[in-house]
Symmetry: C2
Subunit: 588 residues, 2 copies
């Protein structure tokens, strides 16, 4: 067989980690099913993420869950309705739709980055690019909205809804609620793990580009003037991360350079200290999944590559065999963009309170109005006028009055005589001010990490596959087997299996020879195999074999769970004082 | 405050368990957000379900994950496109839409069960039922499809897709893949936990009737002639479950009766033995969530109440204060319905193989055809004819030929001379036969269980709330606090908290007095509070307080994790041999 990628996909499908969805109906691009081992591996990856990002920071990072379906206003406010698009072009003959920029890039080997629809269309016309499937002519290039649309309740424009393309908006719109629950203390983070959907145009990269996938995100809110990130200095300042800067990329440099996290912050290479902190945690997390430091780096995006909400973005890259590099997480300095937009669209108070060290004197114009004059001028219409006036802040009203020319002031369509208003300048002493917190966002895709874990665990030994999963994420933790499939060994093994499956996902191994059983366990990446051998019935002990060293220790049966618990937590089981056996394994 | 329900909702929103989604945009009925405590509680409920339903049965129940978005063909095949509807009626004045049957039931206090659209419409006309919001006249009653619609890729009828209303279909269409992975052994179960969406018409019951919720389902496949449910007899035969039978309900009886699981199977009260097995596990699971046996029973649905796919359905009911009863799970004997439909719609082989004890002689008609005659008759069209003929099974073709009158046989629109075909009777000896497995399905909604856990945990003691969560599902496992907020007690407490949060979701308690701190912990249902007191600095130990008895034990600091681990697993911490203290707690 050919490439490592092909071997891994073949392995994964054969063992039931994943496969394309809706196979019996011809398959559906961009959708994958996870089989039993895939679910276990993914859950373990998610749990590890939760551990690194939430549980270790549980005093100030909390997880919430919000719906996948959202009324359209949410993604209008977030800017997605306007910006979350790709260029599409339809074949006029077979009516398949393609990513227009990808067609150009593939055909001509040039970058279509930053081109407008008309420009891409011109390139297509000039170079006579045609449908890659049927050779037919291509239509106009247009912007295709990548949000899945639906309706909440009956079909009606006011019921338009979208499936979320990111979990982030659920966190932004709940900022105030969580802020109150966190006793109004900044900084804090809101985490969310859940499904998102992106209506990609003709996705073709299997598990790597999905129309539906699981995202793991944190929106981290902090006071920009006082980020208080002691944690950065406590846990990360001496850590080195590899960064490929945008300014270097623009010069054609593609070699990332190591830099300490604190230096990256001090020299403003990373603009947000909390972005830097979570990048450091991201590096440690990816290491824990089996990716060494020299195989991962952060690539800063060029301004033209950044999402509409971001002031600075780093993609965390992992080197892979197939594509050279694969983005496994994005780190965006979302700044105040999202909260500002939701304040604008909802008129809700999504501010935090900053305590001032000294009071601030505020001078401002306020507008008062003569209620009796309103009543006598408007009569029965007066209540409506009061309602309109009350809906505006004093500042907003002052601005309207100041900007009005002539004798009348038009407020939401109602003309009110200027004489009714009186503008006063007032002075106030305040000890707090409202701020919009800044936001740093680390965002991971679980399915890509699943692929990464498979690629980095994959190894071969004499033609046999050994999946060297980090123990914490291995789908099946322990195998149990009798040395030979005979009594009394079998009975002991069965009882032990029954006990072990109360604690772990375990497997009772069957096979012709012990060598084949071990090979089976290695192929599934099972870290430990417990073997009941000829000495077990009389001595009440068993052996525990370590996947990576193939060495074994002899352990009393009632100590097995303790040893495996320790081993899974990272303890070297050979340091526990049990007799070590090096057996020559049956190779058949 | 009034009812227990109101108190629980008030408590849950205040503490941030959950709240209505999209509040800043006016809220959206049928959608709820979970806050931090809600996420922890729900995850623990899901983990416990996984433990009872999957992990304990891991040799033959495996979990998979399939997408929420599905091409329309899937739900056409499943019968949902045709049957998954409710009666809707729109107000002609304010254009709000309502459940027509619910309007009738609420207004007239009669059941609209089983009525057709025209009949409901007639009742509405005759009784002059009007819009409950604006009093306007109501339009026609129509069947409203409860599937959320979307499009995969560009808008086009062939790209129509639905959001799944149940996880089940993802398991059915993957039956064959998992069957192969399970080495073709029946019985086995496929489990799935994930989001589903139902476009309910004007849902109004908060967390109880959601448009988007998390389902936990098993499709359990077995050979009906040989169900081999030894487990039923091993684990459940002596267990009693409460059943309210459909035939009793039809007579107006509403008192469930206890019956042993094996008796219910033997007397065909439960038609599928595996349905009975999972009902038994469901009872134990709900018990573990804090619901005693006399507060839960299984209500058999009447034929008119059953979903289109079910031959028998039991709803698992839990008694609740607000609605009297609440359905927390459904147990459907889906029989062969779904696999049959997918075989019909996909033409895929979704059969299992049954080994026969003795060979069976099969006599059947096969059709052969003269290829040369096809070529000479059809010329260049011959390849197309071969393709059509090859797409049909020999039996299907024999049937068409046998049923054709006249000289020609019409196959998929092509007329073929009868002389080309030759029908032969053949006899075969077979040792296996193809079967469609029968299916028993237990299906739970996670959010309803979350409400149930809150209601059954809720208690008051002298005006103070104590949430008596079962320890396994309590969101926060342990609190840590110094007896007074002073050094050196505080320092020890902080270090202990740092250690404990590596293991558990923990909370550092702050407050004016130890009594208030304990009250705070009780209000959150924290099972154990570790207190650093005046003796701690010199003796190196702390006290551990048990939420339910309010008694404490003195434990060395390095033994705390072991004691809490044991306590969370259900061990009585007062049996561990540590000194027991009964302190009078500060009541302020």
């Amino acid at each position: 067989m050919s490439s490592k990628f092909d071997k891994i996909i073949d392995y994964a499908v054969r063992k039931g980690f994943f496969w394309q969805s809706y196979e019996i109906y011809g398959g559906q691009a961009g959708f994958y099913d996870l089989g039993s081992l895939g679910v276990l591996l993914k859950s373990n990856i998610i749990e590890l993420w939760r551990e690194f990002f939430v549980k270790q920071h549980q005093e100030f990072v909390v997880e919430i869950e919000t719906p996948i379906i959202a009324p359209a206003i949410v993604f209008k406010a977030s800017g997605h309705e306007e910006n979350f698009t790709d260029y599409a072009v339809e074949c006029l003959q077979c009516h398949r739709t393609f990513r227009a920029d990808h067609l150009v890039e593939e055909r001509l080997g040039i970058s279509a980055e930053g081109l407008k629809a008309e420009q891409i269309e011109e390139v297509i016309r000039k170079n006579d690019i045609r449908c890659p499937v049927c050779g037919g002519p291509l239509g106009n290039v247009y912007r295709f909205l990548l949000l899945f649309q639906t309706y909440i309740g009956p079909y009606s424009p006011s019921n338009l809804a979208y499936l979320r393309p990111e979990a982030a908006q659920g966190m932004f719109i709940n900022f105030k609620r969580v802020y109150e629950l966190m006793k109004r203390r900044l900084p804090f983070g809101i985490a969310q793990i859940g499904k998102v959907a992106r209506n990609e145009i003709s996705p073709r990269q299997g598990l790597i580009r999905l129309r539906e996938f699981t995202i793991m995100e944190i929106e981290f809110f902090y006071d920009e003037s006082n980020p208080t990130c002691d944690l950065l200095y406590e846990n990360c300042s001496d850590e080195y991360i590899n960064i490929l800067r945008a300014e270097d990329r623009a010069k054609g440099i593609d070699k990332p350079l190591p830099i300490s996290v604190s230096e990256a912050v001090d020299e403003k290479i990373i603009l947000s200290p909390w972005l830097a902190y979570w990048m450091c945690i991201a590096k440690k997390f990816v290491n824990a999944l089996g990716v060494p430091n020299n195989k991962t780096y952060f690539e800063e995006k060029l301004p033209s590559e950044r999402a509409h909400y971001s002031k600075q973005t780093f993609d965390q890259i992992v080197i892979v065999e197939r594509w050279g590099k694969l983005e496994v997480s994005g780190h965006a300095y979302r700044h105040t963009y999202d909260l500002e937009r939701h304040i604008e669209f909802s008129r809700a108070d999504l501010y935090a309170i900053r305590q001032l060290k000294a009071p601030k004197i505020i001078r401002r114009s306020v507008v008062k109005y003569d209620k009796n004059a309103v009543i006598s001028f408007f009569g029965t219409k007066a209540p409506q006028v009061f309602k309109v006036l009350a809906s505006l802040s004093s500042e907003a009203l002052a601005k309207i009055v100041a900007e009005s020319k002539g004798d009348g002031v038009v407020v939401e369509g109602i003309e009110i005589p200027k004489t009714i208003f009186r503008v006063e300048d007032v002075e106030e002493k305040v000890w707090v001010e409202k701020i919009i917190p800044h936001v740093a966002e680390p965002s991971f895709g679980a399915e890509r990490l699943l692929y990464i874990v498979l690629e980095y665990a994959y190894s071969e030994d004499g033609g046999k596959v050994i999946m060297k999963f980090p123990k914490r994420v291995a789908p099946i933790k322990v195998g149990v087997t009798p040395l030979v499939d005979r009594e009394p060994l079998e009975g002991i093994a069965h009882r032990l299996f029954k006990e072990l499956k109360r604690h772990y996902y375990a497997m009772y191994l069957e096979g012709d020879s012990i060598g084949k059983k071990y090979a089976q366990a290695d192929e599934l990446g099972i870290p430990f195999v417990v073997t009941v051998d000829y000495e077990s019935p009389s001595k009440g002990d068993v052996t525990i074999r370590d996947r990576d060293t193939k060495k074994q220790i002899r352990v009393p049966i009632d100590g097995v769970v303790k040893v495996i618990d320790a081993g899974l937590k990272g303890v070297d089981i050979f340091s526990l004082g049990y007799p070590i056996i090096e057996r020559v394994e049956d190779k058949e």
